[in-house]
Amino acid sequence: MERSDIYILCIEDEQEVLDAVVRDLEQLEEQFPIETANTAEEGRKIIEKLLNDGMKIGLILCDHILPGDNGVELLIELHKDERTHPARKVLLTGQAGLDDTVKALNEARLHHYIAKPWKKEELLRVSVDLLTDYVISNEEDLLPYMKSLDAGKISEAIRTRRNVSDS
């Protein structure tokens, strides 16, 4: 499958957890390259570099408790930045309190909350769902994404959007 210019970014300070996320999302990586970071600061740098290279961020999976700025703060910041605004944002955590979670929901328009420990199927399903939403709202040509993402939703989008026509 052809690599797209849409990236998945995972930010998590524990290396084993990060590896587990990457392993669980392996089947998406062929099309959506995965970048990882251990801190919010490192995450920002990666985002900056990717955007400068003309790439897009489609999905951000972020832990809450991180060294330095915490996950919710980072997600709020990325929500406000118009370049990362369209990215789907997931809080992947065991330790976010109610206040932080509510804040993430209200101010970062959090798309999903996954509690640790997660099941592979759940993480994958949520990621596929969110990436499907992302490509439907942001991409012109949806056909390349049908195979790896939600084909039903994508064909429905093609039907209603009509940007594929007879030739």
């Binding site: 056909l143 064909s155 039907r159 594929v164 026509s165």
Partner: protein, 543 residues
């Protein structure tokens, strides 16, 4: 991801340069036997053909460019022909049948051109008696005092009377384009109010839950919808219907290949059924109409529907043979509820009335393009479609067809089309061989090119075979045109052959080799069926 210069692939860049080269080629290597207008038309034709094949720019952009170049280079108001006047002079009578004419008028083959009607000249043979600088003395019993002799036989107005530019830009309002506009608006409204999905749900009901009948039902419904909506939109919608069925199959079950292939096949074939089913039909209908052959909506259905049904049944049989179902029953649970809001009801009424008036055109005689304005006007008057909906219509498809029709007008008018067929002894080929040849070429080309483009490139040749009369009495313009339209829609061996193929392939369910296998079989059987219909059936219904 696009890469390379200007975001174009190396193939596209090659196409870009080849196309530009094609545009200027006739001026670098002028063809003796072709008029100046023909050379201009040839340049436009070469560029368009190359651009449509290599797609350095989108195919609809090429169509718009064609119209632009035609109004600039070929129209009476463009810079080339704006102030042009054919240089003529009258022969000076010296004595009986002896004339003095300007030496520039004498052509190498010993003839002079006599201007007749605008755009027409007659070649007259003369015997040169004496040359004297500016003039020649010739003997001819065909010349007379009131003849106007063309003093510059290479002039751009020789044998060419330029059209008004409005003829070229007017193709966008060609009746067949308006017919499509009506169809597009109905389709847009159907999607908006989910009429297409609800119809599918009702129509699939009677086919039950047995796999073989589900496939038959899917194919018939897909074909029926794509006869009135775009093939692509229908295919996209039907994919949402088959995915839940495929999810019920064990992963290794080959039946899913057949299921997923049934949609693009039925959508491609279904487009043949009506004039508005698919754009190649428009190209053929518009070209025929210029020669006084107006084919009504009803006539088209009488001609095409029996072929569509036969092709669908054959494809159904093939799919079940190649990919037999292993499951006894499916659960076909399509959710949804008929929208009964006043606007939706309005749509149902307009939809029903329009389709009824279309298919009964022969009974009431109101042209289908006029009827097409009923949905155009009624859907916006009733606020069933709003401004955003209209903006979302596939306008580029209308331009694609308009450019194709316009190219045909130019090729015919400049004499290019007749010139292109002139190098070959068509008469010796025979009508049946010709039908086979056109079908094979159309199916082969259309597997790689847009169906509309294939029809656009072939139709001018068909027309000139008619106007030049080289095929003799046997040749039937109407049937040959229909052959082109049908053949263009029967090419479906590759994912790139048609947009419905691309959609089906993108689901990841089918493999390219399955699509290729079915596509080739359909193409070959289609060829035989076209031939059979062209010989036995169409002559009966087209007189």
């Amino acid at each position: 991801m696009k890469s390379g210069v200007l975001g174009l692939t190396p193939i596209q860049i090659t196409g870009l340069f080849l196309g530009i080269f094609g545009l200027i080629l006739p001026f670098l290597l002028p063809l003796e036997t072709l008029s100046t207008a023909g050379q201009l038309g040839m340049g436009i034709f070469l560029m368009a053909a190359v651009f449509w094949m290599f797609e350095p720019i989108p195919i609809y952009a090429t169509s718009m460019l064609v119209i632009f170049l035609q109004i600039i280079l070929l129209s009476a108001q463009g810079p080339v022909y704006m102030d042009a006047e054919l240089p003529v002079s009258e022969p000076v009578a010296l004595e009986e049948e002896t004339w003095q004419i300007p030496s520039s008028a004498l052509q190498e083959d010993g003839t002079v051109l006599v201007a007749k009607e605008p755009g027409e000249t007659e070649s007259v043979r003369v015997n040169v008696i004496d040359r004297n600088g500016q003039h020649v003395i010739v003997q001819s019993d065909e010349l007379s005092q009131d003849h106007e002799i063309v003093t510059d036989p290479g002039h751009r107005l020789v044998d060419y009377e330029p059209n008004s530019y409005t003829d070229y830009i007017g193709t966008l309002a060609n009746p067949i384009i308006i017919l499509f506009l009506g169809g597009f608006m109905l389709a847009r409204a159907s999607v908006k109010y989910n009429l297409d999905k609800n119809l599918t749900r009702y129509l699939l009901g009677p086919f039950g839950t047995r796999p073989r009948f589900i496939v038959l039902g899917l194919m018939l419904v897909t074909a029926a919808l794509s006869a009135f909506m775009s093939n692509t939109a229908t295919a996209a919608m039907m994919v949402t219907v088959i995915l839940p069925i495929i999810a019920q199959l064990p992963p290794e079950d080959r039946f899913k290949f057949g299921l997923a292939l049934s949609i693009p096949i039925a959508a491609n074939v279904g487009g043949i059924t009506t004039p508005i089913g698919t754009p190649p039909n428009a190209i053929v209908i518009a070209a025929l109409s210029d020669y006084g052959i107006d084919i009504s909506f009803t006539d088209w259905i009488i001609v095409a529907a029996p072929l569509v049904v036969v092709m669908l049944v054959i494809a159904w049989f093939l799919l079940l043979t190649l990919f037999p179902p292993s499951v006894e029953r499916f659960n076909l649970d399509m959710k949804g509820k008929l929208n009964v809001s006043p606007k939706a009801i309005g749509l149902y009424v307009i939809f029903g009335a329009t389709v009824l008036l279309w298919i009964t055109e022969n009974q009431h005689g109101i042209p289908s393009s006029m009827v097409a304005f009923l949905p155009v006007a009624a859907l916006v008057t009733g606020r069933i479609l709003n401004k955003e909906d209209i903006q979302k219509l596939p306008w580029e498809v209308l331009w694609l067809m308009a450019g194709g029709i316009s190219l045909g007008i130019g090729m015919d008018k400049t004499g290019l089309a007749v010139w292109m067929i002139s190098g070959f002894d068509w008469g010796a080929m025979g009508y049946i061989t010709l039908i086979i040849a056109f079908s094979v070429v159309a199916i082969a080309m259309s597997n790689f090119l847009s169906n509309t483009v294939t029809a656009t490139l072939l139709m001018p040749l068909v027309i000139s075979l008619h106007t030049s009369g080289v095929m003799g009495e046997d040749f039937n313009l109407l049937i040959t045109g229909i052959v082109i339209a049908v053949a263009c829609s029967l090419a479906m061996a590759l994912p790139i052959s048609t947009p419905p193929n691309a959609i089906a392939m993108s689901t990841g369910i089918i493999r390219t080799k399955d699509m290729a296998k079915m596509g080739v079989i359909i193409g070959v059987i289609g060829l035989l069926i076209i031939l059979a219909y062209a010989v036995f059936y169409w002559p009966l219904v087209t007189n």
